[in-house]
C-alpha cells in the first residue's frame, strides 16, 4: 500500500464505523420507515419491504462513506447518533399507533 499512515488501528476503526455505524443507521432507517410509512397509511408489509429496499442501499452508501470520509469521527457520530435518533422516533410513533 502506498500510504504509510495506513495503520491497523486506522483500518480497524474505519471498518468498525462502516459496519457498526452503517448497521445502526440502517436499523434506524428501517424502524423509522416501517413506523412512519405505516402511520402514513401504507400497508404494513409494504412499509416493511420498502424500508428494507431503501435501508440496504443506505447501508451500502454508509459503508463506502465510512472509508471515503476525511472526518471519521463525525461520520461515526452521524451514523450512530442518526440511527439512535431514528429508532427513538420510531418508538414514539409506535406508542402513538398501538
Amino acid at each position: 500500500m502506498t500510504a504509510s499512515t495506513l495503520t491497523p488501528r486506522h483500518i480497524a476503526s474505519r471498518t468498525a464505523v462502516a459496519l457498526l455505524g452503517g448497521y445502526a443507521f440502517t436499523w434506524g432507517i428501517v424502524a423509522l420507515g416501517v413506523a412512519g410509512l405505516y402511520a402514513a397509511g401504507m400497508e404494513f408489509h409494504d412499509a416493511e419491504h420498502l424500508s428494507y429496499i431503501i435501508g440496504l442501499l443506505v447501508f451500502l452508501t454508509a459503508f463506502l462513506v465510512a472509508f471515503a470520509t476525511r472526518a471519521l469521527g463525525r461520520t461515526a457520530l452521524v451514523l450512530v447518533g442518526g440511527g439512535a435518533l431514528m429508532s427513538a422516533v420510531a418508538w414514539w410513533l409506535q406508542s402513538l399507533l398501538v
Binding site: 500510504a3 436499523w27 416501517v34
Partner: protein, 559 residues
C-alpha cells in the same frame, strides 16, 4: 489515512474483496446450480425421474397423509430447548398443513406445523415434513437427500451453517461486500465501456486475468448487482429483525387489524370443527382464476388452524407464467367451504417487491431465461476467481523476493474455493451413485453420508491445494491448479458414466426421450470435463514457459 478517494475505494475493493471473495465464490456457484436444483434432485434420486404432476386430491390422498405426519427426531431436538419441561410423545394440534409443488417438481412436499404445549414463546411451532409421489401418495424414503434443492440451494444462502443463523449473516455480509466491490470497481476503472471489449489472452497472465476480471464484472454488472441486492432484500428480515424486536407491538397490532379486515382468523377458536371438501374449494378457486382470465394450476395449498372452527383453507395459484410470486390467494372457511376472501390485486410496493424477489427466485417457466441466469452466475464466478488470481499474480514475485508467504496462502485458498469446490461437488454426486441403496446399520443415513463426502472431499482438496502451492512462494505457477483441473475432468466424466451404469439412463436414452433434467445435468458435467481438461493443458504449457520478468505498469488505482 488514505491518500485520496480512489485509493480508499481501491483498498476496499482489494482487501474486502479478497476476504469475502471466497464466500462469494461459493454463493455464486451454488446459486448458479440452484437454477436447476429440481433437475439435480432428479439426477440424484432416480426413483423420482418422472414428469411433474398437478396437485393431487386433498380429500382422497393428502388428508390421511397429513393426519399421519409427526415431527422427526431432528425437529424434536431443535424444539426441546424452547420448551419448559419435556416434549409430548405425540403432537395433537396442527397449526397448519401445507402442500407445495412447482412446474419442475414431480414430487410433492408436505409440511405440518404443530402447536408446542409448554413452549416459552406461544408462537413456537414444531414441523414435520414429508415428500410424496403425487401419483400414489407413497412417501420418499427419509434417507434420500434432494441434493439440488436441499443441499446446493441452502448452501448458497446459508452455507448450511444453521447454528444461530450464522451462515445467513456471513452470506449477507458477503452480499453487501459484493455490492461494495461492484461500486468501487466502477470507481477504480472509469473507462467502463472499453472494458467490455478488452481481453488480451496472449499477454502475461496478470494482464489477461485483470482483463477477464473487468470484462466479466462489467458485462454482467447489472446481473451481479441485482442478485446480490435482491438476495439481501429476501433475507432482510433476518439481518434487520426490526418488526420482531423493537417494533413487535406494532407488528402484532397490524396482525390483529389485518385479521379483522380480511376475516381470516388470527387465532384458534378452541371449538373443534369438521373439515369440508377441500377439493371442492380448489375447484372453486380455479373457477375464479379462470373467470379473471388467468386460469392456472394450484402451486400451494395451506390449511390454517386445522380442525378448529376458525380454520380456513388458502389456495394459491402456481406463478409459473409471471415473474412476481403473486399467488392470487383465495381463502375458504374450512368447516363449510364458504368463500372468506379473495386476495386483492397487489399494491405498487408489493408489485415491486414481488418483482425483485421473484426475479431472484425465478419460479417462472422460461428455459432460455434460466440458462441466462446460469451464464450470469458463471460470469460472477469467473469475475470473483480472476480477482483472486490477479491478487496472487500481482504479488507473488514481490512476495517471493521478500520471502513472505502471503501470495501462497491466498493461492492455496483460491485453489480450494475454485477447483476444490468443483471437486467436492462432483465427489458428492459420485458418492450419490456409489453408496448402497440403504446404508448398513451403524452408518449415517445415505443423505448425510453424501454430505460427509462433499465436505471430506473439500478438505482433501484444500490440503492438496496447500501442499502443491509451495511453488508460488518462489514466484512460479502452482501445480495444484493443473492437478485439480485434471481431477475435475476425470470426476466429471465418472459421474455421468456412473449414472448410466447405476440407472441405465445414458445420454442417448435421456436425449432420445427428451428427458432434459438428467440429460442436462450429464451434459453440463461433460462440458465441464472438457473445459477442465483444456485448462489443465494450458496450465501445463504455461508452467513450462519461462517466467515473465517484465511486470508492466498497471492501471493506477490497483492497490
Amino acid at each position: 489515512m488514505f491518500p485520496n478517494f480512489r485509493h480508499s475505494m481501491a483498498w476496499l475493493h482489494t482487501w474486502f474483496g479478497l476476504a469475502l471473495g471466497m464466500v462469494l465464490m461459493v454463493v455464486f456457484f451454488f446459486g448458479t446450480l440452484s437454477v436447476f436444483d429440481r433437475e439435480i434432485d432428479r439426477w440424484a434420486i432416480p426413483d423420482t425421474r418422472y414428469e411433474p404432476q398437478p396437485m393431487p386430491s386433498f380429500d382422497k390422498m393428502l388428508r390421511p397423509i397429513f393426519e399421519d405426519m409427526q415431527p422427526d427426531a431432528a425437529a424434536r431436538a431443535m424444539t426441546a430447548p424452547l420448551v419448559d419441561g419435556p416434549l409430548p410423545a405425540h403432537f395433537d394440534t396442527p397449526r397448519s398443513w401445507g402442500a407445495y409443488t412447482t412446474h419442475r417438481d414431480p414430487v410433492l412436499l408436505l409440511f405440518a406445523g404443530y402447536e408446542v404445549p409448554g413452549a416459552k414463546d406461544h408462537e413456537t411451532a414444531i414441523w414435520a415434513n414429508r415428500t410424496v409421489d403425487p401419483r400414489s401418495g407413497v412417501a420418499l424414503p427419509t434417507d434420500r437427500l434432494k441434493v439440488g434443492s436441499e443441499f446446493f440451494y441452502p448452501l448458497h444462502y446459508s452455507l448450511t451453517l444453521d447454528w444461530k443463523n450464522v451462515g445467513y449473516w456471513i452470506v449477507g455480509f458477503s452480499a453487501l461486500m459484493m455490492l461494495m466491490a461492484l461500486v468501487t470497481g466502477v470507481i477504480m476503472h472509469r473507462k467502463i465501456f472499453r472494458e467490455l471489449f478488452t481481453f488480451r489472452p496472449k499477454k502475461n497472465t496478470q494482464r489477461s486475468m485483470l482483463d477477464l476480471h473487468n470484462l466479466t464484472g462489467v458485462a454482467a454488472l447489472p446481473f451481479h448487482f441485482f442478485f446480490a441486492f435482491t438476495g439481501l432484500v429476501i433475507f432482510a428480515y433476518i439481518y434487520f429483525p426490526v418488526t420482531h424486536t423493537q417494533l413487535t407491538p406494532l407488528h402484532d397490532h397490524h396482525e390483529m387489524m389485518e385479521a379483522k379486515e380480511t376475516g381470516l382468523p388470527h387465532d384458534r377458536a378452541g371449538v373443534p370443527a369438521p373439515l369440508a371438501s377441500v377439493d371442492a374449494m380448489v375447484l372453486e378457486a380455479q373457477r375464479r382464476w379462470a373467470a379473471k382470465g388467468m386460469a392456472g394450476d394450484v402451486g400451494y395449498l395451506n390449511l390454517t388452524h386445522v380442525g378448529d372452527a376458525n380454520g380456513y383453507v388458502s389456495v394459491y395459484r402456481a406463478g409459473t407464467d409471471r415473474v412476481q410470486l403473486a399467488g392470487e390467494g383465495i381463502h375458504f372457511k374450512a368447516s363449510t367451504g364458504e368463500l372468506l376472501r379473495e386476495d386483492p390485486p397487489p399494491t405498487v410496493v408489493a408489485r415491486i417487491n414481488e418483482f425483485l424477489t421473484g426475479l431472484h427466485l425465478q419460479h417462472f417457466k422460461h428455459w432460455l431465461l434460466r440458462w441466462f441466469y446460469v451464464l450470469g452466475g458463471l460470469a460472477g464466478c469467473a469475475c470473483i476467481a480472476t480477482g483472486l488470481f490477479f491478487f496472487v499474480e500481482k504479488r507473488k514475485r514481490q512476495h517471493a523476493k521478500a520471502g513472505t508467504s502471503g501470495a501462497r496462502v491466498v493461492d492455496a485458498l483460491a485453489v480450494t474455493v475454485v477447483t476444490g469446490m468443483l471437486v467436492a461437488t462432483l465427489c458428492m454426486l459420485i458418492a450419490n451413485r456409489l453408496l448402497p441403496d440403504t446404508m448398513p446399520d451403524g452408518w449415517a443415513p445415505r443423505g448425510l453420508m453424501e454430505k460427509y463426502f462433499f465436505w471430506g472431499a473439500w478438505v482433501v482438496a484444500g490440503l492438496h491445494a496447500w501442499l502443491r502451492t509451495a511453488q508460488v512462494a518462489e514466484g512460479r505457477l502452482a501445480p495444484a491448479w493443473r492437478e485439480q483441473c485434471l481431477a475435475i475432468a476425470a470426476l466429471a466424466v465418472a459421474a455421468p458414466v456412473l449414472n448410466w451404469i447405476t440407472t441405465g439412463d445414458h445420454l442417448l436414452r435421456t436425449i432420445g426421450s427428451g428427458y432434459w433434467p438428467v440429460a442436462g445435468a450429464d451434459l453440463f458435467m461433460l462440458t465441464g470435463a472438457v473445459l477442465a481438461a483444456l485448462a489443465a493443458r494450458r496450465l501445463q504449457r504455461k508452467a513450462r514457459s519461462p517466467v515473465a520478468v517484465k511486470n508492466p505498469a498497471l492501471e493506477a488505482g490497483h492497490a
